[in-house]
Symmetry: C2
Subunit: 222 residues, 2 copies
């Protein structure tokens, strides 16, 4: 339409490369993914990556940022629960949204795979991803947890508790190869996000109350 942005054809190749790259990076990882594969799937020439993105690493950076951004918009952190709801409900909303992110299927699952790989082979963009995209999520959860655990809980316990919650959510994703081999009958099937979220909430709420009770001093314990 306007003359300010690059013409349609070039934008298309750029976008096609981004799409192909997000799939191949997610499935193969940065090292095993080849620019030849990416360009072939995108129907572009090998030189296109260097022309449009500079090099393989910058392409990867753009893929990771875009994919994470899209996922945050697709599954907002509150999980559809209004801020006026009870803490327990907001907690359940957070867990449900997170589970839906992690246990999606198809192209929506690419982010989970990319991030899992980042945990083992961090790339230069991870700093930016954490600071601009992960931190808001973490702050949302910590705010909820602070409300649930009371004002006296030390920061270290708050962090551990946060780890307990997120760890439960991520387990079946991060340990999938082991789970698949332990239970071959379940092979290839993702856990149902909402049912998993329900189990995690059932499991966590009493634990959170126990932690609160442990640190409730000064007339807080009922």
């Amino acid at each position: 339409m306007s003359t300010e942005r690059p013409p349609a054809t070039s934008y298309d190749t750029r976008q096609r490369i981004l799409d192909a790259a997000s799939e191949i990076f997610a499935k193969e990882g940065f090292a095993r993914a080849t620019v030849r594969d990416i360009c072939q799937r995108a129907g572009a020439n090998i030189a296109a990556v260097n022309y449009h993105f500079g090099d393989k690493e910058k392409l990867y950076g753009e893929v990771l940022l875009h994919t994470y951004q899209a996922m945050v918009e697709r599954h907002p952190v509150a999980g559809g629960v209004r801020p006026e709801a009870t803490v327990d409900e907001r907690f359940a909303g957070f867990v449900r949204a997170f589970c839906r992110r992690v246990y999606s299927a198809g192209p929506e699952a690419y982010l989970s795979w990319l991030m899992a790989r980042e945990m083992v082979e961090p790339s230069p963009v991870l700093d930016q991803v954490v600071n601009t995209l992960v931190r808001p999520q973490q702050q949302h959860l910590v705010a909820i947890l602070k409300e649930m655990l009371g004002p006296n809980v030390p920061d270290e316990v708050l962090r551990s508790t946060m780890g307990c919650v997120i760890g439960q959510i991520l387990f079946f994703h991060h340990c999938r190869p082991v789970v698949e081999r332990l239970f071959p009958d379940r092979q290839g099937r993702n856990p149902d996000p909402d049912r998993l979220a329900e189990v995690i909430v059932t499991f966590s709420l009493p634990g959170l109350r126990a932690v609160r009770a442990k640190y409730a001093r000064g007339g807080e314990g009922r």
Copy 2:
């Protein structure tokens, strides 16, 4: 001493390569680790890997199996708690032993790194590792959980609960790059295994009782 085993020198190179390889595979991953680096660190010739192990992949397989085996012997699954102890104590022992395995330092940490990489890029030996080394650990935990959750709990819930427990333990290991960037003051420091285990037990016991209560029918509910 005896003439039956290979002479000392050759055994030494073989062992030196194994040691060097476990470090480099753990730190760099299978793909980024080069046989040149491994042989240089082992003080051996490049051809030694192929001579003693066949190829890079077989060397890796032996490294993973040996490392896992050593860790199982170093931190037995019961965590020093006797079988006559209460379920809660045995549960705490399991969690503590697992935490100590995952959050060791130095060469003892190699297994955690190797396994974390396996979760993202499974190798052919993973089948054997899971079946011969992981499964006994899992069965030990499941036996404890069955005792804690009662007979009526469905297998799927049992599995989810197991995931909740292991997920909590693994979080700070599997998500270390994110945790480091969220809390730069904690950078480089592993969580203290025993304190983390304590938090996880405190957090989990009430959750486990809640799950038990949920599935306690037929005169079980008090």
